[in-house]
Amino acid sequence: MTDNQNPISPHLQIYRWHISSLLSITHRITGVVNLLALILMFVWILTFSFNENNYELFLLTTNSFFGKFILIGFTWSMSFHILSGIRHLAWDIGYGFEIKTAKISGILVILSSLVTTIIFWLLARGLI
């Protein structure tokens, strides 16, 4: 590239926020967070496959306040990314492009990601 003065894309600091842009950047951020979660899962398998004591550390960490906070955060990140991904796939096959529909589906993604997180967590912990 010869001209380094070209505008940088996307212009996150310039455009006025809309639900569509908010969801777009959140989809990317949650994707990166999910990758971090996957790397941590890798570390988890790696450590406990070598030493049983490391599993005790995993139990201590995940059952601490901070551990639960992180795991619940990962749950929301995963829920959001999957639901927002389904919205993207609908667009890919040509549905939901109208502005009103895109706004409604965006709000639905946000709300249902929160509900999914709660239900997912309660089910996984055997609370319901």
């Binding site: 990758l35 599993y55 995940t62 059952n63 996984a124």
Partner: protein, 107 residues
């Protein structure tokens, strides 16, 4: 990789990855209340073992394509972008291969 093929593979991997990721994460949260032996039993199950290996291969493949897209948008120095792409490629190969070796030969 051609952009169209990349686009299609990104969507295909996403469709496979979503249920795998949700299933594995659900299992991990359930295991966070159980002991070491139950975790070993989980990974000794041939179906769970296969699905876990698949999760890491598909997950890192999907992440690799996504990271390329993010690097294209935000990194404007070609050299840095090339290094970032190579690092993400190495990560997307090394991690799933280690998981494969661990689950097939170690656990």
């Amino acid at each position: 990789m051609k952009e169209t093929r990349k686009w299609i593979l990104h969507r295909v991997s996403a469709t496979i990855l979503a249920p795998l990721f949700a299933w594995f994460y659900f299992s991990l949260i359930s295991l966070s209340e159980k002991n070491y032996q139950e975790a070993i039993n989980f990974f000794e199950n041939p179906l769970f073992k296969t699905l876990t290996i698949a999760l890491f291969f598909v997950g890192f493949f999907h992440a690799k394509i996504s990271l390329n897209e993010i690097f294209d948008d935000y990194i404007h120095d070609k050299k840095i972008k090339d290094v970032a792409n190579i690092l993400s490629l190495i990560l997307s190969i090394v991690v799933p291969v280690i998981i494969f070796i661990l689950l097939v030969y170690k656990i």
